[in-house]
Symmetry: C3
Subunit: 350 residues, 3 copies
């Protein structure tokens, strides 16, 4: 008899170039969209209104980009990060095709880097994960790297490699998931802001003002919606005896909260086109309140497109600290309230 349960992969189980086809394809529905709205209070008009989306050039409301990200990410967890100690970072994330309710997503990951730590107890695994729809079309890909336990400290590591990762996506890589937008039909009153691409300046900082307190039931409901099985989010019995004494909130939950808060100041930034990088600086726990502010790092037109332009945004999320004074990092040291440092491209109508 084979043992029927999976204990996940340990560091020495991974091989460079290995392709992992992840389990449990997932049909995304309007039910998921409603829950996503209810969990974060998302208000971007393109995703909120079929009528608005149709007016500006989509067939209907696409599924929120980050909901797609979380679902694809969730599929990778049982194979990539079940034995992870830490999710170290993201890079090179591209949204390649819009996802609509009724589409079915599955995911494949390629191991593109392996680096054992000097303690020989852990190592860093780099994967490029790709989400596909039911037609086999790529809808999203991104790199993430995680610190994973070894099952056996003495296990040899066959081949190591640290991949070179882009600091940011180039403007030419953006916009494939965005149909041509009819900017004349973009109703600013309905979208919630008069500020388009041209109204933002590099270096501009925006305090998103509001705070959102997170409850245990909320992050658990969200993380299960994504079929993310990481144990640390759900099991108070074991986490109560662990390092923090509490369940850890899925880092993606913070990203979505920060994105939802960013509506106040970036209401026309209707599409996340790319994730340049992201770091979960500190953990979030239930009962804490998330705030966010953003900085415009760059702005770029898209090649051969006059309808939309891209802002490179860095959003900082904090916990239990309003962002009026833009808490940030000094050198390598972050303000102790910072929990997320997220670098991404958004598209706005011109």
């Amino acid at each position: 008899m084979h043992p029927k349960t999976s204990a996940g992969n340990f560091f020495e189980d991974f091989r460079l170039g290995q392709m992992i086809r992840h389990a449990v394809p997932r049909t995304v529905t309007v039910g998921d969209v409603s829950l996503y709205t209810a969990l974060y209070g998302m208000r971007f008009a393109v995703q909120s209104s079929d009528a608005f989306a149709a007016t500006v050039g989509y067939p209907r409301s696409p599924v929120d980009d980050l909901l797609v990200f979380h679902i694809v990410f969730g599929k990778t967890v049982p194979d990539v990060s079940l034995n992870a100690i830490a999710n170290l970072g993201y890079a090179g994330g591209r949204f390649l095709k819009p996802v609509y309710p009724g589409d079915t997503l599955h995911a494949v990951s390629e191991v593109i880097g392996l680096k054992e730590n000097s303690n020989r107890k852990t190592g860093v695994v780099y994967v490029r994960s790709t989400g596909f729809n039911q037609h086999g079309e790529e809808v999203l890909d991104y790199v993430r790297w995680v610190m994973v336990r070894k099952r056996d400290e003495s296990a040899p590591v066959v081949e190591q490699h640290v991949p070179t990762l882009p600091k940011a996506l180039a403007p030419a890589a953006l916009g494939t998931a965005c149909p041509r937008i009819d900017t004349a039909e973009w109703n600013e009153a309905l979208a919630g802001s008069p500020y388009r691409y041209d109204d933002y300046e590099v270096g501009e900082r925006i305090d998103h003002v509001d705070g959102m307190t997170v409850e245990e039931a909320e992050h658990q409901i969200a993380t299960r919606l994504y079929q993310n099985t990481a144990k640390v989010h759900f099991n108070q019995h074991s986490e109560g005896k662990g390092r923090f004494g509490r369940r850890l909130i899925y880092g993606g939950h913070v990203i979505s909260l920060a994105r939802a808060l960013s509506f106040n100041g970036l209401a026309n930034a209707f599409h996340v086109a790319a994730i340049n990088g992201g770091r979960h600086v500190a953990p979030l726990f239930a009962g804490e309140t998330v705030f966010a502010w953003s900085e415009v790092l760059d702005k770029q037109p898209l090649p051969a497109r006059s309808d939309v332009g891209a802002l490179r945004i860095r959003t900082i999320a904090t916990k239990d600290k309003p962002t009026t004074l833009f808490p940030d990092k000094t050198g390598e040291d972050y303000d102790p309230a910072v929990i997320l440092d997220f670098d991404y491209w958004v598209l706005l109508p011109r």
Copy 2:
């Protein structure tokens, strides 16, 4: 550079006759309906079953009237009540057209009254808010008035006016959102009660028996579902330092809980046709248990309709106090357990 965030309107920003087109149109879906059921336990057969709805005369289940109300209300918050101290009341609410999953709602408000308070720090703003579907048809309108802070105490108030508001809608104003009901096909066993319009009497009191305890996660999920951005519901970091030390629960959450509880006694009251008035007598907080009782204030046939009749109902909700003894008000003083006094017309089959 313009500051990109909105701080909402203060009392002196409003003008009589001003029209405000609210942001973020919203497509209502079966996902929203499921969440609404899950948050309140709603059981009215017309809204619960496409098959039942089709049998009695609807094309399919309409979206619960109060869900429509909350979504329209939510749209008005960023413009009308972001700086509100209190939601003082509702009047003249009419449900004008049924809303079905797939419909997209947006909202417009007209400022119909302004009255500065004698302390000059605040004033009362009266708005008539109207919800529209994607065809531009009115689905709901209602008046609410809120006490709003002034940004600057010395700011002059240009023009003041207190509108005259109806105490109750007239029967002739009811029923436009209700198709002709085939009362012979109305299955009382499936609907959950043998009592139709003719079985109720003016003055009759009904204790709805059950209690429902509210959790933080529940009211936050509900209020975000409505894209209602009022800060007091979500931010424990700031509310913890405020008047109550806690997050306030959206008053509409109490209305929907009371309506759901009222099923036990009013199961055939399938449609809220109008909101005559409503007052949030006291705040509700997480952990508290809501009870409700109702009184039949009036009953009226609808002009030229023999299929349905209207009951004018006053529903009183309490917290942490069963309603066996019908806790009420004496003169202007309410029983301290009362949190809601809600006056509305419902339709029942004859």
Copy 3:
């Protein structure tokens, strides 16, 4: 005037052979499916992906069997168990037809057994409940028995009978809700396990490893989704003064949690074909963590079908105790951590 509220049935209100048509038909939608996923983290590929379901032989993803069970069960509560002290057991549950989003369910129960307890204060009511779709086709039936209060101790009991119940369904009774499965198209990587029917052995035990902590908001949202009105799940004001001092979690919530946890070890067990028996050994409360392990009690081919085989599974759920050591019962005494003992047939591809 008739009192308009229902106080539910008491033991002496039931009659052998009585048919009860339950209220509130319910259209099941993709919104319900999303909530079900979000509440339990369900990952069975057939129910998760329309594309996977279509590949193996379903027209699209069927609604999770236990979601159907909970909805049908919920309808019976106001008539059968509103005055129940305990839900004593289940038997003879058969899933007869797949349910798809858009189908409308209603339920009928027949009283098949009545036995007064010797204290004359309570009695046991046995009902066979049947769920129907909008075409009047049976989708599920099962027997449950509950201990119900008498309204009046002196009330005579007209006729008593204890029905003979099957210990387990016969293999010939299984599979009617399962279309012919194209096992060659069953993708094990996508389904999440290489283990099919032939890979399991009678007597095999599987520890499902993971734990899931339950929050008040979660079980309330779930139980209201099923329109289950049992008071003990929702009313802290009264339960706080009761036997446990807390709200009781609906037993079906534990069944669904255990089923979701069982994915790790039984990922290809895509269909619950029958419920042989079930016992809620001890109550679960919010804040507690559920674990599960399973034993293969039997395995049987299905008559005239070579596509799927049936495993008879006994799943034990515990609270606040990992299941590494398979906590069980000795004689009639359960390990004090056990909360559920559930016996059911699942189908797997051969």
